[in-house]
């Protein structure tokens, strides 16, 4: 890696200021994407601002209607949290499917959604549950948070502090991993809360998105059959040696169907 200034921030304020005042500041949560990127010399930040010393960013609180997960909460802790397992088992399952054990003990929710990797798992849950992203400056609804490939609504110096997940009646997540990297080649998160249905797809396109046609069909009839024959268009989907856009489009339907089946 190239040399950089390492800043271990003690408060959100300090971190935010350090990130904006540096010529090229980079916030680090778990570092599970940033550190490999630095080691490969694919990034050359002037400053790396470590958030691990900022108090109060990790932890899970349950309040009946919502599950609130602190930005620095590790995937392992979400995966094994009794509150999450009880209230939103699909979210606990999703966290357990991220990376490998080492990554799950270091990687964080805030880091994952701030990075917004097209093949990350968490964006599917945040969008698929209609969660609210809290930052040091404001709250952002999930529908307005994910903007494009590695792009979010976050502004310079804005730091995710927690994500509030509404507890759904039913939810399911089905992931088809890339055989090599085990990132989501296609991951579909479905949820039903009252009459509201959300279907969020990750891995398939440059950014997580909602599948409106499936949401409509599932609102009318919550059943795997309702989506089994909805063909998703291959237009605009990612294509690589592991999966063509056409194959990904096909997997969107299969994973959606299976996610609904899992949700019950």
């Amino acid at each position: 890696m190239y040399n950089f200034n390492y800043v271990k921030a003690k408060s959100l304020d300090e971190a935010s200021k350090a990130a904006t005042s540096a010529s090229e500041g980079k916030l680090m949560a778990g570092g599970m994407t940033l550190i490999p990127t630095l080691k490969m010399r694919l990034a050359k930040p002037s400053d790396v601002i470590d958030l691990s010393g900022v108090p109060g960013l990790a932890g899970i609180t349950a309040s009946g209607k919502t599950i609130s997960v602190g930005a620095m909460t590790r995937h392992y802790d979400v995966h094994t949290s009794k509150d999450v397992v009880k209230a939103i088992p699909a979210l606990a399952k999703l966290a357990g499917l991220i990376g490998d054990p080492a990554v799950r003990h270091r990687g964080t929710l805030g880091g994952s959604i701030s990075n917004n990797d097209p093949a990350a798992d968490y964006p599917a849950a945040v969008l698929g549950l209609g969660a609210t992203v809290h930052t040091n400056k404001r709250t952002i609804p999930a529908d307005q948070f994910f903007k494009g490939m590695f792009e979010t609504a976050l502004q310079a110096g804005e730091i995710v502090t927690k994500v509030e997940f509404p507890v759904p009646d039913k939810a399911g997540y089905m992931k088809f991993p890339n055989p090599a990297s085990r990132y989501a080649m296609v991951g579909v998160f479905v949820s039903k809360t009252g009459n509201t249905v959300r279907v969020a797809v990750t891995g398939a396109a440059p950014c997580v998105f909602r599948q409106a046609e499936m949401e409509k069909a599932l609102s009318a009839k919550w059943s795997p059959d309702a989506v089994a024959n909805i063909k998703h268009s291959a237009n605009g989907l990612n294509s690589d040696i592991h999966a063509s856009a056409e194959y990904r489009a096909h997997l969107v339907t299969v994973m959606a169907k299976r996610a609904v089946a899992e949700a019950g």
Partner: protein, 795 residues
């Protein structure tokens, strides 16, 4: 007496060291005043090197020196040699273009080394390497063999305008043509054998050191054969006398063939160490391994088999194109010829076989032996076509093999493609495997899978491999530029312990355990009193190293020969001590005794007498008990077996799940069944990796698409089932231990078995072939194409 060590599942003695971080790998070694080397590698697959401006790099902080190919040429450094000369049709020698340590004229593959930066720290070397300005003129590249062989294709080497390295053949073409003319049925197949990246856990590393007091060099390197590196680098590249060059290959974390070869980096650190007067260290990162370790496989083949009306094989005809990459790696040319085409008889009595192999230069990383080396390619081809022939003729897949197997009674058996098999009970291996997998109950399991919407398939592969490489005279006649024997020294110490020096090298095989087991029984010494030393040219007389499943068959036999000499000398000492005639002295279980009496003396006492020779036959014997032996094998060994895979396909996603995997192997006499099972497990995983997961992909312009584990799919624990492995011990007839070798078998049998199972599962859809790897996308695509084809047919 103690229980026999040979045949016991003794835990690996090296594991405590290796698993607790106490091993010493090359990168663990640090020398005083050491520097670090970073290599500037070509980002282009094919480019003319017009100018190299190293001035900025040379002035960068911490930089000691920057060298280019011109500096090497000034010092008369030679090119990297090829260890095997293949002669093609009509005796035409293969084209052997120069392989410079640092490219001076052109870069011929992505990662081709162009310059080196040596600095006080790894980071400084890396930073400065980015400052070396290389002016490239990009040239059109050829990455795949079909493109390379097209008329007018860009030439990788001026010496081979048509990119053809050799056009080689084996077998009786006329006899094959005649057999095809009278065939009742002909089955054809066209397939590719996908390119693989070996990916040993430990990346390659090297440290060069020069002692100006003695004029001697030391090279620490991640090698499977340090003596071979000393020979090749010393004699051909740097011209250092062997007496002035020590090569140490300490603990090595896996090789799979990729650490056999002499690489540019070894020569660079050794040469530069003298040049700058400080030790030079280089350690590859994984990205470098992907573009600099020799890769494996990469064949395109058309094949047909002729059968009579009873399903008897009459003849086999094979046309193969084999990718050599941008340069000839040390043994590259030998793999698709003498380690491939000679195995095309397989386990069958096919009387006529013809194979033509065209070796092709492309703008890709060089290709050489990778676990199995030629034999997995032969097995895959043969077993795929045999299983397709069974399906086409309606003969059961086991039955067609049964009808064509070479019977045990026919041993030794001369194949039409040069090899003479010494032993094997092929029918028994298959019958045992069929029983293990419950072949009779398969239909029921398939129906049950069908109820769950899954497509089930069963596939089989029988294989034979030529291991114990190799009788030197035979290898020499076929173009090898080295002998392929092995050496061993058995040093019996005065107080009863034994050190064994072996020219074999362990990098995962467990020699410190198996070799000690052989010695424990051979000399009647407790296993804890035996040390196995390997991997250092200053300690070991000579060695040809470890590859081709040769260590126990060749290295183990050398140890037996050395032990025989120790015992022969011991008998004479014992005869003196017991005042008996040497003819009457017998040796058993560590004791010399006089036949027909209760007189005996322990081997430890004999050793003590040999080193403290107060009472000793000085007039006829020298003191000491230390013997060296070289063993040159009489023939190859022929491990063989039958592997059966049962798989389930999820037709919605194309995912292949391996439901079970059964292997029955004949490795001859087994020294340590636990280590053998481990070798089979690892081999099977690599075979499954090739069949379902691994694929090295280049873009048409020669960029490496799968340059990291993000895209190159290594097998993981959850990709494979628990295996059932069993052995049939049919001893090898021509080596003293009766052993055949087990290192590569799993890799050879597994891929073909799994692919046969995949095709079997899809055969109901009219699919008769699928290339490896059978990834979810590939399987799904095949199913879609078949559905579309059927729909079109209905219209």
């Amino acid at each position: 007496m103690a229980a026999a060590a040979v045949g016991a599942a003794i835990r690996r003695r090296e594991d405590a060291r290796l698993l607790t971080g106490a091993g010493t790998y090359t990168d663990d070694i640090n020398r005083p005043r050491q520097t670090y080397m970073q290599i500037v590698r070509s980002p282009h697959a094919h480019a003319r090197v017009k100018k190299i401006d190293a001035s900025k790099a040379a002035q960068a902080k911490g930089v000691v020196a920057v060298f280019t190919g011109a500096d090497l040429e000034k010092d008369g450094v030679g090119g990297l040699p090829c260890g095997w000369l293949v002669k093609g049709k009509g005796g035409t020698a293969m084209i052997e273009p120069p392989h410079r340590v640092l490219a001076t004229d052109k870069a011929r593959h992505i990662g081709d080394p162009i310059a080196v930066v040596i600095a006080d720290s790894r980071e400084a070397a890396r930073d400065a390497a980015e400052l070396v300005a290389v002016d490239y003129e990009e040239l059109p590249a050829v990455a795949d063999m079909n493109a390379a062989l097209k008329a007018g294709a860009p030439a990788v080497h001026d010496e081979a305008k048509d990119n053809l390295c050799y056009d080689w053949e084996i077998g009786d073409k006329a006899a094959v043509d005649a057999a095809f003319a009278k065939a009742a049925h002909v089955t054809k197949i066209a397939l590719t054998n996908n390119r693989l990246v070996p990916n040993a856990m430990e990346p390659r590393a090297a440290i060069g050191e020069f002692d100006r007091a003695t004029g001697g060099y030391t090279l620490y390197t991640t090698s499977q054969n340090p003596h071979v590196i000393r020979l090749l680098m010393g004699a051909f590249v740097l011209k250092i006398p062997e007496s002035k060059l020590r090569v140490v290959a300490p603990d090595v974390g896996g090789g799979f063939g990729s650490k056999i070869y002499h690489y540019a980096e070894e020569a660079l650190v050794t040469w530069a160490a003298k040049k700058i007067g400080r030790p030079v260290k280089w350690t590859a990162d994984r990205s470098e391994s992907f573009m600099s370790d020799a890769q494996g496989r990469d064949h395109i083949t058309q094949c047909e088999i002729a059968l009579d009306k009873n399903g008897t094989f009459l003849a086999l005809r094979v046309f193969t194109r084999a990718n050599m990459g941008g340069y000839l790696s040390t043994f590259g040319p030998a793999i698709p010829t003498y380690l491939y085409a000679t195995l095309l008889a397989g386990l069958y009595r096919t009387p006529a076989i013809y194979c033509e192999v065209k070796a092709v230069f492309t703008n890709t990383v060089p290709v050489d032996a990778y676990r199995g080396a030629g034999r997995p390619e032969a097995c895959y081809l043969l077993e795929r076509i045999v299983e397709n022939a069974a399906r086409e003729t309606g003969i059961d897949k086991a039955e067609i093999r049964r009808r064509n197997f070479i019977p045990q009674s026919a041993m030794p058996y001369q194949t039409p493609v040069a090899l003479q098999y010494d032993s094997g009970d092929f029918v028994r291996n298959m019958e045992d495997a069929l029983k293990a997998v419950d072949y009779a109950g398969y239909a029921k399991r398939k129906a049950e899978s069908g109820k769950r919407g899954k497509l089930r398939g069963i596939g089989m592969a029988t294989y034979i491999e030529a291991c114990g490489i190799a009788p030197s005279a035979v290898a020499g006649a076929l173009g090898a530029r080295a002998g392929l024997y092995e050496s061993a020294e058995v040093r019996f110490h005065p107080t009863g312990t034994v050190t064994v020096f072996t020219g074999s090298h362990q990098h995962g095989q467990g020699h410190e355990t198996t070799f000690a087991q052989v010695v424990a029984d051979g000399l009647g010494v407790p296993i804890d009193n035996i040390e196995i030393v390997h991997g250092d040219t200053d300690k070991i007389a000579f060695g040809m190293g470890t590859y081709g499943s040769r260590s126990i068959a060749v290295g183990g036999s050398a140890i037996v020969k050395a032990m025989d000499k120790v015992i022969a000398k011991g008998k004479r000492i014992a005869a003196h001590l017991m005042e008996a005639s040497v003819e009457d002295v017998e040796f058993k279980d560590g004791k010399f005794s006089v036949a027909g009496t209760d007189k005996n003396v322990d081997i430890a006492q004999v050793a003590f007498a040999a080193y403290v020779p107060h009472n000793y036959p000085h007039e006829e014997l020298e003191p000491g008990l230390d013997e060296t032996a070289f063993y040159d094998p009489k023939n190859f060994t022929f491990p063989n077996g039958c592997h059966i895979a049962e798989i389930e396909i999820d037709p919605e996603t194309g995912t292949v799940h391996i439901a079970r995997f059964d292997a029955v192997d004949d490795f001859g006499k087994i020294i340590n069944p636990m280590i053998v099972a481990g070798q089979v497990h690892g081999g099977v995983v690599q075979g499954i990796g090739q069949a379902l997961l691994e694929n090295c992909v280049y873009s048409t312009d020669g960029q490496l698409v799968t340059g990291s584990f993000n895209d190159y799919c290594m097998p993981r624990a959850d990709d494979v089932p628990s295996f059932t492995v069993a052995t049939n011990e049919v001893p090898c007839t021509h080596n003293p231990l009766g052993v055949k070798g087990c290192g590569e078998a799993g890799t050879i049998g597994a891929g073909a078995a799994v692919m046969n199972a995949v095709v079997d599962a899809l055969s109901g859809l009219g699919i008769s072939h699928l290339d490896m790897p059978a990834t979810p996308q590939a399987v799904w695509r095949a199913i879609q194409n078949s559905k579309q084809g059927q729909a079109a047919a209905r219209r």
